[in-house]
Amino acid sequence: MMLAACGGSGSTTTQSTGAQPPAASSTAQGGGGSSPAPSGDTTAPDTSTSAAPDTAQAKNGGDLVIAGYQEMTTLDKDLAGTSNDALRVLENVLDRLYVLDNDAKPQPSLATGYTLSDDKLTWTFQLRKDAAFSDGKPVTAADVVFSLDLARKGDFLGSLYSRISSVKADGDNTVVITTSAPEPVMLQLLTLETSGIIENNYGGKSKDAYNQQPIGSGPWMFSKVTQGVGVTVVPNPHWWGEKGHLDSITINTSADPNTRLIQLRSGQAQLIETPQFAQLDSIKQGGNTTVLSFPSTEVDFLEMNTSKAPFDDVHFRKALSLALDRQAIVQAALRGNGSPAATWMSPSVLGDYQPADGTKFDLNAAKAELAQSKTPTWTQPIVLQYSTSSAASWPLAAQVIQSNLQALGLTVKIETADTNTLQAATAKKTYDLHFGLLTYDIPDPGELVGYYLATKGYNSFVDMSATQKLYDAAAAEFDPANRLEAFKKVADSIVNVDVSTPGLYTVPYFWGASKSLHGLHIILTGQFNFNDLWLG
């Protein structure tokens, strides 16, 4: 649930008729969040900073301090997705039936396995018998039922589980989940932090009291939680699996990237989140610090308001997309640390696939498309807006886009506004162009397409009937290979038929780290396993 305020728009759309509910939450990220994303395709960026396999012998002991950038306002698992740091911690504290491994594949954790009925509507999970919460109480099926019911009823993220019709215990160690329709991404859903298992009925406490310092059955447990400052976790003595190496991990919040950098350089923190692109060289040259990068699912893109001219004409939209020099945008906005993207459907979840011609930069073809549009000579300024708390790359990207479209004879006016103002412009359908940013919570291409359909094309108000049909077929596909091929067709449709949300670029995760830190591996969806980390 990598998220944060989206710099783009606010959606005012209604659920499209027949649209499948999203498989899981996607999220908008603003302020340059833990940049998820890219992988690869065309222009491989400088990968000199990429994390190499750590072959050194792990040492035990030590206290790790991480400087995050988003305050953990709550540890309520339904709301924690508003902070990447909070969900990372919760996923190490709250065990789940399945968890993602370092290759982003679901693996059994609290569950030992499952059986699926022939009609694909009933999932039966067997639970481990040696699992216990950090206060020593054994984990039972009743805890799982309570926790998953909470997830389903969640005020903000409950819709993710809309296909689940019931969760029931069958004895102490069996849980049966029934769905109203086949759910191909059930295992992925169960890896989310919202699917984290907590004690039945909050262990007898009130919800608020429990969520101050939730008790889980994962490998780590909270030892200290300070509002506005951060949290400290220590190993859970009742964890059934292999123990971690560190004595404690503290995650503090430092919103200012310069402060995080100074904390890393001074040794106050050994790992910092989301350094700015301008800081990467400084960190690499720091002697005892380095930059680690990992593939992510982040894609930054443009939202065009197709409810008004000139974007109501598909030829105009195609012309605009063809006029974008995405490689130049990557160089300017990301200092080369990214790749051009055809769509917000990350290549990372599409088997490195990019729709044909989606990243094509061809000014002559753009002019030809423009000539075919209803407005071949559009003279009014096109307003490109982004949030003042936007991704750090957007201001420079906006300038390159402005220059690109000028070559097409179009005038672009760049404006900044606060997120709420942008959302209002979206609601009133008065905007021209907005930036958008999306990341995946589960490594399945269907997730963000569900939201695309539910929000009328991420507020572009485009006719998505062709994409809808392709999605309906793809979303029901259980076979991984067939599912992937089906979603490639969805991506093609979004890029070549809808043409309302052209991709700009993908961005990897960047972290600044002390060279004394080992074992960090950021999973495609942004989390990492605290047990992998060690200092030495």
Binding site: A28, G228, T253, T455
Partner: protein, 313 residues
Amino acid sequence: MIRLRFLLRRLGQAVITLWAVTLLTFVMFKALPGSVAFGITGIRTTTEDIARINHQLGLDQPLWNQYGRYMGRMFQGDFGSSVTYGKPAMDVILTALPTTLFLAVYAVVLTAVVTVVLAVLAALRRDRLTDHVIRSVPVVGLGMPAFWVGTMLLFLLAYKLPIFPAGGLQPGFVGHVKTLFLPAATLGVLYTAVLVRSLRASLLEVLDSEYVLVARSKGLVGSRLILRHVLPNAILPTVTLLGLIFAGLLGGALIVEAVFALPGLGSLLISGFQRHDFAIVQGVVVLAAVAILLVNIVIDILYSVLDPRVGLS
């Protein structure tokens, strides 16, 4: 008796002002574009999400109804529940308040000490090199934005010369003194420039007065003259300014808190606005208004204590 009447009158005025603050904040917040739902779920928010969450929070009720319910709860000490923190807003605010309070006191004390020392030195060395340096150097602070001063202090005193922690807040009194020194110094750099010039001017005015001339003719010189006869008569405008600075800081030192990663009211206010968390915004604003009103009353009383010629009537 006069002081009691004064106090009651000012408290009465304060209650009316507070009511106006709640109404104004409520109206302005409602006029803001955006929605709570979008603040939580961002770009994937649907109209159904917005409608559902608005209904849950009672935001689909008429405005007068919402305001009435809000005021009713506030009179019972309930500022509502924060949608981003998932608990009562006042709990969140009261947790952040001590950090802001400590920082405000620290900054004002640091500023006051530096101001008095520099202003007295400048006044006693009028028109000499010391005076010129003291008058001109602090002005540089006025031209530097807080985030830059803060970052530079962090770079110099937390990294190059690792004397202080690089942001964050350590627990306990000693931890607070250590971690809040640089933020307080940052604020001090910004405020000292104004205060030194103001206090120096007042000191010179008093030093030129007849009663000081008489005191000098009687052989009263040095620190006794300054501390007992000059400073108390010159410091009233500075006390007023320090009081206003202190009251302003109680609403949160927004930029400094962000640079130094401090969990104070300023950080709360920013995130409250960004996420459309009305309960947090209203709570912080009301608290800041109460602080400003109380500090103003205290300043007025302090005036009469420092200078008995100033009446409260």
